[in-house]
């Protein structure tokens, strides 16, 4: 019996070890480069002879050609992500409340329009969006990226918030109406407090989506002072002899905040995604 148990445990490890390697090697490789000197990084070593934090100090002091605007770019990333989070939250919460609780006429049609936007591949929408942003004169303004990301984040946000808000008991609305509450009072005093967990999840979703976005960012913004860090990272590959060890140190700094936020809110994120994205 014990040998059979051991065998089944060994079988599990036989799956687990490849998963672990497959998942972690690219991540470890970033970390390895960020603490290596250029020579050590390019030698293919699995661990540097002399681990160093020089790359990070180079980044923080903006001492590399590609990093002259590092702090500016990280500020842009932050500003854009927070603006997208706030605006998406405001737009989507109002829409979900109107569709789900106020049963506004045409709500279904609006929901379908939102779902359509959600399912269309984002890279396909990028081309017309680029052209339209040009027509609006918004190209190279951070607002163009903010508004584009709000457009991409809102549909899923509305869908999830509508699902969550459909589950709230109708009696609350009835009671509020009988007490003579206005729609705004219902929204502010009943709806928002009850929806807080979903609102946190959706806000996080929108912030991460905007922080991580590359395609729209590099399409809509090209001026050194307006680009977020994602586009700045892309610039490293402009030449063949890029300082990869510094690129990886910057990339690590860029990747840590969203990863930390994702894990902090993982319970909400996974639950929200699994219930929202696909239904069996």
């Amino acid at each position: 019996m014990t040998s059979r148990k051991l065998l089944s445990e060994a079988k599990l490890w036989l799956v687990a070890i490849p998963i672990l390697l497959w998942t972690l090697i690219p991540i470890y490789h970033i970390f390895l480069f960020s603490i290596s000197s250029k020579d050590s990084a390019f030698s293919g070593a699995l661990w540097p002879d002399k681990p160093t934090l020089r790359n990070f100090s180079t980044v923080f002091r903006q001492e590399n050609f590609y990093l002259h605007h590092f702090w500016n770019q990280i500020w842009n990333s932050l500003w854009i992500a927070l603006a997208v989070g706030a605006i998406t939250l405001a737009v989507a919460t109002c829409a979900a409340f109107a569709i789900s609780r106020l049963k506004v006429r045409g709500g279904r049609t609006v929901m379908n329009a939102a779902l359509f936007t959600y399912f269309i591949p984002a890279a396909f929408l990028a081309v017309p969006m680029y052209k339209a942003m040009g027509a609006y004169g918004l190209l190279n303004s951070r607002w163009s990226l903010v508004l584009a990301m709000v457009t991409l984040a809102s549909p899923y946000a509305i869908w999830v918030l509508k699902q969550a808000s459909d589950k709230l008991p109708w009696e609350l609305d009835e009671a509020a109406r009988i007490d003579g509450a206005t729609p705004l009072q219902l929204f502010r005093l009943v709806y928002l407090p009850l929806m807080t967990p979903s609102l946190v999840a959706i806000g996080t979703y929108a912030v991460l989506l905007a922080w991580n976005e590359y395609l729209y960012a590099f399409l809509l913004l090209s001026h050194e002072n307006t680009i977020p860090l994602a586009v700045g990272l892309g610039h490293f590959l402009a030449s063949d002899d890029s300082p990869w060890e510094i690129l990886m140190a910057t990339a690590l700094i860029y990747a840590l905040p969203p990863a930390a936020i994702y894990y902090a809110f993982r319970r909400y994120m996974v639950g929200g995604l699994t219930s929202g994205a696909v239904k069996s």
């Binding site: 998963i19 293919g44 989507a92 109002c94 339209a132 027509a135 508004l147 709000v150 729609p183 990747a255």
Partner: protein, 299 residues
């Protein structure tokens, strides 16, 4: 903009029975839904209409079809969808069975397993890109150390480069779909498996007669949705190969952007329009599915 926005508000009948003060509530409903309508009108409806109008000239399509890069791209995209998505789902199906084991260390492993999904695309794809560098990359230096042979030029051979882009895509998206299929597996009542065990069913039989029938719909819907989204996977290809060598490794998503970079926006739009006959039915099907689910839940 209101002229574009308003038509969406007209149709559909009120779901709720009429009540006192309906007009105030409806008015507030319209006010609260207006911001999203504005966003949709200004940043989806108008751009798409404008884009389609730009791509109205048949000559644009002729030029597109004459571009040898386009033909290559269509082949690449088709292979990408068929191979990468299906391989990803077979792996996700298998791994979802692994990760539902109720062991503490497997739960910890699942936390690690999500990392590719949790971190942004650029750092990890660049990391893999350098790992595949023929001279200095980790992969080829390991191959050299183990076999004393030079490894292949992973990213300068078009076929290999496409294969690597598929691997990058799978690396990034596998955790998400594994989670989805895990949720499907966890929803299956345990009694079914217990009953199957009593009847002496083998592991394969349990999968074939209990697991698969329960998650088949989820599996197929997810595959379809993933195909739509993979069509828009710009990062896995662009950040790894940039379409190189010689524009041999583009997919539709990156080709559209390439045309924009070349200042041929009408051609970029045409690239997308060509894909619409395949994309729109899939999108329509997904929307149908979701709204049916939605109706069942609310009724």
């Amino acid at each position: 903009m209101s002229s574009i926005v308003l038509p969406g508000v007209q149709p559909a009948s009120p779901v709720e029975p009429p009540r006192k003060g309906l007009t105030t509530w409806q008015t507030w409903g319209l006010i609260l839904i207006a911001p999203y309508l504005l966003v949709f009108g200004v940043f989806v409806l108008y751009p798409v209409t404008y884009g389609l109008w730009l791509a109205r000239n048949p000559a644009t399509y002729l030029r597109l079809f004459e571009d040898p890069v386009f033909f290559r791209t269509v082949v690449n995209t088709t292979l990408f969808l068929l191979i990468a998505v299906n391989l990803k789902f077979l792996l996700a199906l298998y791994l979802s069975g692994f990760f539902i084991h109720e062991k503490r260390w497997i739960r910890w492993l699942s936390v690690i397993f999500i990392i590719p999904w949790a971190v942004p695309a650029i750092p990890t794809i660049f990391s893999i890109r350098f790992m595949l560098n023929p001279e200095w990359g980790l992969v080829n230096s390991l191959i050299f150390r183990l076999t004393a042979l030079d490894g292949p030029n992973w990213l300068t051979n078009p076929q290999l480069a496409m294969a690597m882009a598929m691997l990058v895509h799978i690396w990034k998206a596998l955790p998400f779909w594994t989670l989805i299929l895990m949720a499907g597996r966890l929803a299956i009542p345990k009694e079914l498996y217990e009953a199957a065990s009593v009847d002496g069913a083998s592991g394969w039989q349990k999968f074939k007669y209990v697991t698969w029938p329960s998650i088949r719909t989820l599996y197929l819907t997810s595959t379809l949705l993933s195909m739509i989204w993979t069509l828009g996977d710009f990062n896995s290809v662009y950040l790894l190969t940039g379409g190189q060598p010689a524009d041999q490794t583009h997919v539709l998503a990156t080709l559209g952007i390439r045309y924009i970079r070349l200042d041929q926006v009408d051609q970029a739009m045409a690239t997308i329009v060509v894909a619409l006959p395949f994309v729109l039915p899939m999108v329509y099907f997904m929307m149908k599915r979701l709204s049916i689910d939605d109706q069942q839940k609310t009724s």
